[in-house]
């Protein structure tokens, strides 16, 4: 039983890991075809994962409604939202527009899905301002670096910032755009590069651990 439960999955990981690793060094068409197929496999499996998600979502909210927990009424809206989109998609066969006309699905995209996601995304603007108010306080040298870089970038991105800069600092004969570009291209790149190299090596080592079955937390424990 342990073989089926544990070793075969580990063997699958090893085999697919090694083949994929090898495919990076094999230019032949066969290796391209392999990658195309495995992408299709991924599509299929993740489609089923989506259905797994759907079942979980329905189950969670069904339980809430069944037990009449606090605010169970809101759970009904989960089903309503789901149905609206699905029915619209079925009517318009998954097309947002047809012959230049917005379809039923297109309408739901423009008036339901997009407002919700775009608004949620734009809420970030508010949070940026409150976070900035709290976090950009100079309490140490490193906080000062954060403050300075942030301030210059914000000033440099707007026309008014350029005007203000020229009024105050025109004697330096340096424009804010130059300082901005220098920050992005030099010290900021150094910081980013350091992080990326650390991540690259960490990712490579983790990949090795996965391929050789040392890291198996993702399988859950048994």
């Amino acid at each position: 039983m342990k073989i089926i439960k544990k070793y075969i999955p580990l063997a699958i990981v090893f085999i697919f890991g090694m083949i994929t690793l090898a495919s990076y060094y094999v230019p032949h068409r066969t290796s391209e075809e392999y990658l195309e197929w495995i992408n299709r496999w991924e599509n299929i499996v993740s489609a089923f994962a989506l259905f797994l998600g759907m079942i979980s979502l329905f189950y969670v909210h069904y339980k809430k409604i069944e037990r009449k927990v606090d605010g169970w009424g809101y759970s009904l809206f989960v089903y309503i939202g789901f149905l609206i989109i699905m029915v619209a998609a079925m009517i318009s066969h998954g097309d947002i527009s047809k012959g230049g006309k917005v379809t039923c699905l297109g309408w739901t995209f423009n008036n339901i899905y997009n407002p919700l996601s775009a608004t949620m995304f734009s809420v970030l603007a508010f949070f940026i301002i409150s976070t900035a108010y709290r976090a950009f306080r100079i309490k140490s040298t490193s906080a000062f670096m954060l403050f300075l870089a942030g301030l210059i970038l914000m000033l440099g991105n707007i026309p008014l910032g350029e005007i203000i800069w020229d009024k105050l600092f025109s004697w330096t004969h340096i424009t804010i755009a130059e300082i901005k570009n220098w920050i992005i291209n030099v010290p900021s790149t150094a910081g980013k590069r350091g992080i990326m190299i650390g991540i690259a090596i960490g990712a490579a080592v983790t990949s090795l651990k996965i391929i050789f079955g040392i890291e198996r937390g993702y399988m859950g424990k048994d």
Partner: protein
């Protein structure tokens, strides 16, 4: 004193939210027109190019953006359309992005009437075309091969303004406004190949990437982000969404900066108290 200052540091963040709301709403209701230091060359180029076209020439306006990039690109499309109508140019509007329908609809509902322009005589709308590369190539010999009908399903050829239009050689220039790589297609497959002047409008973030094209004159001009739209609006002296947008961005940025500096001043005073 110390207590009030401490309170200020821990101010209810909803006051900040309210101020930000005002900072953005007010310019929308009444654009201020905060001056900017200079107009970027790329915007000036595109303005000059369109301004110098002889009246009655036909241009293609390819509007390939969807709601996600509309805040920046919609004002650009509006200002270019206004400029074209002001100069009495004929405009063919097309799109290669499925999600752009509603936005184009909104443009043509408001702008043409303002300049008393008529559908079919001064501008036409072409339907969404998914097969972009084929369409771009085909139009070099015959526009009607792909676009037999306009967006309403009426024969395109029969419109007054289309009488003398057959292929790219009858087109004065192409303006593509997009947040996608479609502008690259226009440059590579139409601009370089058939020597049609290509002008562009892109988001502030992707603006940097088009530097090389501008340098090699593969792009004759470029509008970048809301700032570009605002600059263009100033050039044709029309206050629009670009101006109000850049006003809002200006004020909102200054608001953040003021908040940051304010909190640091409070902190500094607290230290010495």
């Amino acid at each position: 004193m110390k207590e009030t200052l401490n309170k200020m540091l821990k101010i209810d963040r909803r006051w900040l939210f309210l101020l930000l709301t005002f900072a953005i709403i007010i310019p929308i209701l009444k654009p201020i027109g905060i001056p900017s230091k200079s107009t970027s060359d790329a915007v000036k180029d595109i303005y000059d190019f369109i301004d110098k076209l002889p009246p009655g020439s036909t241009i293609i306006l390819s509007l390939d953006y969807d709601p996600s990039t509309a805040p920046e690109l919609h004002p650009q499309a509006a200002v270019v359309l206004k400029h074209a109508f002001k100069k009495n140019l004929k405009v063919i509007i097309m799109t290669f992005l499925a999600g752009s329908g509603g936005l184009i609809d909104e443009l043509v509902r408001t702008i043409p009437t303002k300049y008393s322009k008529e559908y079919g005589r001064d501008y036409v709308l072409l339907p969404y075309m998914p097969n972009i590369l084929a369409a771009l190539t085909q139009m070099s010999s015959n526009i009607y091969a792909f676009y037999e009908k306009d967006i309403d399903g009426k024969p395109l050829r029969e419109y007054e303004m289309m009488k003398n239009i057959q292929s790219y050689k009858d087109i004065a220039c192409v303006v593509d406004i997009t947040g996608t790589a479609i502008l690259d297609y226009w440059v590579a497959y139409v601009g370089d190949k058939y020597k049609v002047p290509i002008l562009g409008g892109v988001t502030a973030i992707s603006q940097v990437g088009y530097g090389p094209y501008l340098q090699k004159k593969q792009l004759k001009g470029l509008i970048g982000g809301m700032k570009g739209a605002a600059e263009y609006e100033r050039l044709i002296s029309e206050v629009g969404k670009g101006t109000s947008g850049i006003d809002a961005l200006n004020i909102a940025h200054i608001l953040v900066i003021v908040f940051i500096i304010f909190s640091n001043i409070v902190l500094l005073i607290l230290k010495f108290l």
